[in-house]
Symmetry: C2
């Protein structure tokens, strides 16, 4: 039992200025966490209790499927990450430092390398496999924009598990076991989730699925169909239209289109001065937009690339990141245009026959990549690579080709799903778990081999399974709340019951002590608001803010033997005899 | 229950080359930990279980005295450490890094600053005090020489607690409570300890005591008397002898003493050529040795200092470090002598009347500090500040004075204790816990004030209480062992019982499963050696190495209903009926 009069906590009446999202605001206001620096948080006793509950649930489900707990340092030498290639791949995303002898170290963002090396150290035969080991550990990422409290922090806690198998079938089985365990974890945490196909990202590997929690504050986009398709927008594959016959299409015409540097001005101008013969209006979808991006590769080298896509779509930041990873992608700036006079801002086109630069990779070193919708035979209004000029009726496959395809355009509700299950819907989501099949990437890089049944050395295949403890806590806080405060699910709540003694009558406090003692004797963890000089209103407000799911009010009627049971979620209050309290609480 | 056939562990037959001390060797050999880098360790499942047990004991004892658990980040911004002055004081001892925006951060070596700031954030009135909060957290120190496995690592786990009080008396009380809790913790851990007076070190503050575990592998020296005195050698205060009458002592004489640059050669030469009139031999104790040291201050500035002490004593590295902290102390090198021609190597003396440099601070900028035994009237043979010359009969207080006193000479068995309790003995020890009264240093630096009963703002006074979780684990391993392996105390052992099934008879394994199930039903944690094709000899060897205190051997007699209970510590084996097993185990 913890007495609120003693508890190291304080509630805030005002919304803290630093908090952008509800979970962050409430966790600060209710005295769960405090900011220690950008993306760095300190845990107060209430917060730590919730956190430990989540860790316990994760640990129980891991142990239930035979995964064994280990623990690695947070500070690690460069060498293993050098061997896997990730020291450079991570770029600015990791914290690095040198020790007093000048040796490079990092604060581990994930631990694939050292898990692999540890298994290499301990395991030499297929007989010791399959094996799944995990840790619950602090991770560090030097986020460009730490935000939303625990949702995107620079120090955060994860459970990361790794499976080790000899065969692909073994990996499939280990993966399935972890995936199932994750489903149980999220059910216990009370978090809705969608399992989506995901990009394997910097990890390499093949199959990868994310557990996405649908929420407006999520940074990801979930693309789904009623027919069962579900993917992270990063992973969405465009359905390629059928090509159109080129023969019989009119020749392209270059036209003076002064002051039309945007799609909007171009379409307006085209409709006003060059209307279609069939009377239909030109729309943005008839234009071919060419976007210039700058890639910065992990080795520091830079490259420009131009993406051609239908003018009614934008470039999706996440999709384009995935398309070019591990390079960092930014918009091209004035310097880039100045250095490449062939790129006529506002009038860039793909046409090469006119002597314009694009598409002639050899001449400019700039790759020209196309959205998959720009199939042969499609006809476009696009830039003529000269100031104030556009070309009409430029036909893909006849007048221009790209240097390749790219999945970079944004995805829209109504787009067809790649599996044929119909039009997609979009939803914001937050990644709360990630399972993927790394395969042999790390084992190859670090030389993890074991003897198989025939005494032959074979490379081990690995799976990687991550779940963010602190992020999940925030995700729960984001949904488990109302306008008065938090409403924790039972399994993660900091306490089972919050007993509030009201009034100034000593006898009431005496009864409250007895009630608390009885609840404790039943194994319940109790928060006891025993503050003598605090008004009932303030106590109730604090109880609502803190969010223990069941509240017992010990007030005036207590001396006659009855208390009130208050359900935090429904707001329902019910008068019960003290003798019936356990039953009323359902405990 | 964990099956040994599934456990992620391996025992090593050979002593690992990297291990210098027994605990390190055994923790590696028995599969508890692995090295991940210099002073960085990974925890295997067995090691993690022991570690969690130690954490649990520490947590229980903290909670029993009302301390509340919180948790801070390991990565922290520079700012609070700048305000306390410790950013520079720590020098090379901490890991620092810059984030992607160039902002300085550190990996916290201790957390005084952020504890102080958190309390400042949450507490505004004396009514919320006293308060003691703690965390169990990883700490980082960039040790010059990480060594002895977990005993001196660069990443290690500590419980650090801090108390906050309004009054000095309150601090005394909070300090006492923690000190008592520490005694209980060490008793539960099965670790002998001596509570010694300690230097408060870089932390500032006043009263400071260390819990020293006496062990040959300790880096500290415990100074004790039978009469109850106990101090870290760093803290030992020399008993100052009575001064001697100066009047009537003969004048000092400078003598040619070529080729006597050491105390040994000087004493031999003096006895051969300048024997004492009373026939007694000259000894090293009659000489005054002058040692030149270089101090490097945290701001990078350097200074030479000369220490005069009796020639039969050396300068104690730890004592001299404390004397000059936070400066770093090294021996002066050839460059230092070259830059200060007044320092005649091998013939340095304190004499200033002759025109020699020492003692004339203004002339050279070199401080000359004396051991406290060099009291007025003592007469010495010492260097004459000229090559090949010494001076005899140089009297302190008449012929020379120092710029101050210094506690730098080594302490010897037989030296009188400062409290008058008799001659001291010396013993190697390891610091396993530390309690100290910080006082108002951090509260002053960071502005932690609260309103007192009279509505006046007063600065809070703090205590700091640290105990090394991972170091204590190693300290236990250092004593809880024999030549065959580890012998864990009950409370920290990775399992309660280790059940070993021997032989090839399926029936035996069947009985073993039943025995294990029964032990588990009683709430015991069982390690079950179920490996089917491993010989009894190997299994017993592994059991001895792993060190679970009670082993149950299920062998041939099992089918007739009896097993053997093997006490790991005494080696005693006792045949018992399965029905009597619980009783025999005393559980």
């Amino acid at each position: 039992m913890i007495r609120l009069s003693q508890l190291f906590f304080t509630t805030l009446r005002e919304d803290p200025a630093e908090a952008e999202v509800a979970s962050h605001r409430l966790l600060l206001r209710a005295g769960y966490i405090r900011r220690a620096g950008a993306g760095l948080y300190s845990w107060l006793p209430l917060g730590l209790r919730v956190r430990r509950n989540i860790e316990r649930i994760v640990r129980e489900e891991m142990e239930a499927v035979g995964a064994q707990e280990v623990l690695f340092p947070g500070l690690l030498p460069r060498e293993p990450y050098e061997r896997s290639g990730r020291w450079t791949e991570y770029g600015d995303g990791i914290f690095t430092l040198q020790d007093r002898k000048g040796a490079d170290h990092l604060l581990a963002p994930t631990h694939e390398e050292v898990f692999t090396l540890l298994v290499q150290d301990l395991v030499s035969s297929y007989k010791s496999l399959p094996l799944t080991i995990f840790q619950i550990q602090d991770k560090y990422r030097d986020e460009a924009r730490p935000r939303a409290g625990l949702l995107r922090a620079r120090e955060f806690t994860m459970k990361d598990a790794y499976s080790f198998d000899v065969s692909d079938a073994g990996l499939d089985a280990s993966y399935r076991v972890q995936r199932d365990a994750y489903e149980r974890i999220f059910q216990r945490l009370g978090l809705d989730y969608v399992i989506v196909d995901a990009d394997a990202g910097a990890m390499g590997g093949s199959k990868s699925e994310e557990f996405m929690h649908p929420t407006a504050v999520g940074e990801d986009t979930i693309v789904r169909t009623a027919g069962g398709y579900a993917a992270n927008v990063e992973k969405f594959q465009t359905v390629v239209p059928e090509p159109i016959a080129i023969e019989g299409q009119a020749d392209a015409v270059v036209r003076e289109t002064p002051d039309t540097p945007t799609i909007e001005t171009l379409v307006a101008d085209a409709n006003a001065r060059f209307p279609r013969e069939d009377g239909r209006e030109w729309t943005a979808a008839d234009t071919l937009k060419n976007v210039v991006l700058r890639l910065t590769h992990p080795d520091g080298s830079r490259e420009l690339v131009v993406i051609g896509l239908p003018g009614d779509r934008g470039v999706d930041e996440k999709r384009v990141e995935v398309a070019f990873q591990p390079a960092e992608v930014t918009a091209a700036d004035e310097d880039d245009f100045a250095a490449n006079p062939g790129l006529v801002k506002g009038y860039i086109g793909p046409w090469s026959a006119s002597g314009a630069v694009l598409g002639e990779k050899a001449a400019t070193g700039i790759r020209y990549l196309l959205d998959k919708r720009i199939v042969d035979g499609t006809s476009w209004i696009t830039g003529a690579n000269e100031p104030g000029k556009h070309v009409f009726g430029l036909v893909a496959g006849r007048d221009f080709v790209g240097d390749g395809w790219v999945e970079a355009a944004d995805v829209r509700a109504g787009d067809p799903a790649p599996d044929g299950s119909g039009p997609v819907t979009l939803e914001r989501g937050m990644e709360v778990g990630h399972v993927f099949q790394l395969g042999r990437k790390f084992a190859d890089a670090l030389g993890l081999k074991v003897l198989d049944e025939n005494g032959k050395l074979v490379t081990v295949t690995m799976g990687s399974y991550g779940i963010g403890v602190t992020r999940n806590l925030a995700a729960i806080a984001e949904i488990a709340r109302d306008d008065k405060g938090l409403i924790w699910p039972r399994e993660v709540a900091p306490f089972d019951v919050h007993v509030v003694a009201t009034g100034r009558d000593q006898a009431i406090f005496g009864v409250a002590e007895t009630v608390v003692a009885e609840l404790e004797a039943r194994g319940l963890e109790v928060l006891f608001d025993d503050r003598p000089k605090v008004s009932p209103g303030v106590k109730f407000g604090d109880a609502e803010l803190i969010g223990v799911p069941q509240i017992v009010i010990v007030g005036r009627d207590a001396v006659e033997g009855s208390v009130e049971v208050w359900d935090r979620a429904t707001g329902e209050r019910q008068k019960v005899e003290i003798g019936e309290l356990q039953a009323a609480l359902g405990r």
